[in-house]
């Protein structure tokens, strides 16, 4: 039975509690504001530096002013060139990456669970990762010429080792305690795969997809630069050959915006949805 003094004690405890809570919230808000201020400051500084350099430091064709670039970009978007060429590149990436993912996962799982296969593949996977993509592109171009399949193969070949390596890392990090638990309870292989391994591997798979995808962009673009007749890379090469810095920079920036969009919006959504079981880490 609480006495009045205890009740008073409780109330002041609650008040103190909510005071602390409010302080914490205020701190969070201040932190977020600071973050945005400094972020914008960074952008402002960068653009200012750019404008300054392009006006006073170097000649216009070496570094065009920001506005020139903006104008160029607007033109590219409005004439539909953007959609046409991005679409072309995207298609090749999608197919090539799908192949890389399927083959890479299979090999990665095999390598992670079986020492013999790991020995068999590991040198090649390492080599494929460290060899500059240019090499694969040159060989692909030599074999397939300007055909569509060239970039697809190049993307598949360069993306594959990233997927495989990340999956091997995942399998090797396998949660022994959970695996033992499943084993002790005689859980079927299928259920083990479905409820233990795959959820556990999910973050590794996502990392694999992230890396593999970013590599895919680069390689597809590179193939187009070297020997393509459509796509972002092709446009970049054209601008490069005509020494149009404004044009090339515009395409580069547009390429960026698109890659960021894919990464932030598409991939991040999936990742957030997948990991809602994670306990919140409160600051």
């Amino acid at each position: 039975m609480a006495t009045t003094s205890t009740t008073r004690g409780l109330t002041s405890e609650l008040q103190k509690g909510s005071q602390l809570d409010q302080q914490a919230k205020a701190k969070k808000r201040a932190e977020r504001r600071s973050k945005w201020i400094w972020r914008l400051a960074g952008y402002a500084f960068f653009i200012g530096l750019w404008q300054f350099s392009s006006t006073y430091l170097v000649e216009d064709f070496i570094l065009p002013a920001p506005l020139t670039i903006l104008e160029e970009m607007r033109e590219i978007v409005s004439t539909g060139l953007l959609v046409e060429h991005f679409g072309a590149t995207l298609e090749k990436i999608a197919i090539g990456f799908a192949i890389a993912f399927v083959v890479g996962s299979a090999v990665g799982l095999l390598m992670g669970t079986n020492r013999w296969w790991e020995a068999f593949f590991s040198d090649w996977v390492l080599l494929m990762m460290t060899t500059p993509g240019l090499i694969f592109v040159l060989v692909a171009v030599m074999i397939f010429g300007l055909a569509y399949i060239g970039p697809v193969v190049a993307v598949a070949v360069t993306g594959f080792p990233y997927i495989a390596v990340n999956l091997v890392e995942g399998v090797k990090a396998a949660p022994k305690d959970l695996n033992d638990m499943a084993r002790a309870y005689g859980v079927s292989r299928f259920n083990h795969l479905r409820h233990v391994l795959i959820p556990f591997l999910a973050p590794f798979i996502f990392t694999a997809v992230r890396y593999g995808f970013s590599v895919a962009w680069k390689v597809a673009t590179l193939t187009e630069v070297i020997a393509g007749n459509e796509g972002i890379g092709f446009m970049m090469r054209t601008e490069f050959q005509t020494f149009s810095m404004a044009g090339m920079l515009s395409w580069v920036l547009l390429f960026f915006a698109f890659a960021l969009f894919l990464e932030r919006v598409v991939l991040q959504r999936q990742i957030d949805r997948f990991f809602r079981w994670r306990p919140e880490v409160t600051a």
Binding site: R39, L126, L134, I135, W217
Partner: protein, 301 residues
């Protein structure tokens, strides 16, 4: 392995020896080489072009190159030496520039907010773009290649140093303080070693990206080096040259990986217990066995 009445089995005679040969990982590696060369030879008639040389033709080319008998302006040794020199110079500069920036970013949140998005962009930027930009800005000079390396690798240095600073285990630092260790002592024995894995990551990714950028820069804006030489062979329509050099690139990468990274990381990380050191003595030999999934066949036996 069923827990009912498990008894040790003795290894059998000759067939066990043969079995052990096939199951040995070293055999696997040798076999993969055989599979590669064999696959290559077999696939040639199926390719849409007649330009692809056989393994033997490429082998001859590579052998000639190794004897410095070449038509290219540089021997394979000179070409790779040039490229390596540029890589090391460029990466050294990247380390000089990137480390202080990374330290600032890791230590001060404001600097992090200021620079964060640019670092993200820098990481994602294809090295191709750096190569083209450097080529356009500096033309056909040595600097283009080196600057490409700097641009391609500096963000990796920055982000790994920043991550490393943020990840310094606070409890160890506090322990140092509690025992009265001086600042310098703490930095040397706690901060520095715990930075090592990140430093290594920066080395690995930074060098890899720098290397890729360098090769491209040599293709577009240089007159020497390994990247330029492979282009030389490409322009001359000599497929043996292109594929031969591609293989040289791979061998180079393997050498660097084994000699430099392998040795270095083993020495730096010698305090780590190796994963999987404890192998238990199962009665059956198990080089080809599954390591992860439960052998559910036994669950009902």
């Amino acid at each position: 392995m069923s827990s009912t009445a498990a008894v040790a089995r003795r290894p059998l005679g000759l067939s066990a020896g043969l079995r052990r040969f096939w199951l040995n990982p070293r055999t696997a590696r040798a076999l993969s080489l055989v599979a590669f060369v064999g696959g290559w030879q077999l696939i040639i008639p199926f390719l849409p072009t007649e330009l692809i040389p056989t393994p033997i033709e490429v082998g001859e080319f590579m052998w000639a190159e190794l004897r410095t008998d070449t038509l290219a302006p540089q021997t394979v040794y000179q070409a790779f030496a040039t490229s390596l020199r540029r890589l090391v110079t460029g990466f050294g500069i990247a380390l000089l520039i990137g480390t202080p920036i990374g330290l600032l970013m890791g230590l001060f949140k404001r600097v992090d907010y200021f620079l964060h998005d640019f670092v993200v962009v820098g990481l994602a930027m294809p090295s191709l773009v750096w190569a083209l930009l450097a080529a356009m800005w500096f033309g056909f000079v040595e600097q283009s290649s080196i600057i490409t390396v700097v641009l391609a690798s500096v963000t990796f240095v920055i982000i790994n140093v920043a991550e490393g600073v943020r990840a310094v285990p606070k409890d160890l630092v506090d322990m140092g303080k509690a025992y009265g260790a001086s600042d310098l002592h703490r930095v040397r024995h706690i901060v520095f070693p715990s930075l090592m894995p990140f430093f290594f990551a920066s080395l690995r990714y930074g060098l890899a990206n720098g290397w890729k950028g360098l090769v491209l820069a040599e293709v577009y804006a240089s007159t020497s080096g390994a990247g330029w030489t492979i282009r030389y062979w490409y322009d001359a329509h000599r497929a043996q040259g292109v594929i031969g050099y591609a293989l040289f690139f791979m061998i180079f990468a393997l050498l660097v990986e084994r000699l430099v990274f392998g040795r270095l990381s083993r020495w730096v990380f010698r305090w780590r217990p190796s994963a999987g050191e404890q192998r238990d003595t199962r009665p059956h030999g198990g080089a080809g066995g599954d390591v992860i999934l439960p052998e559910s066949a036994d669950a009902d036996s």
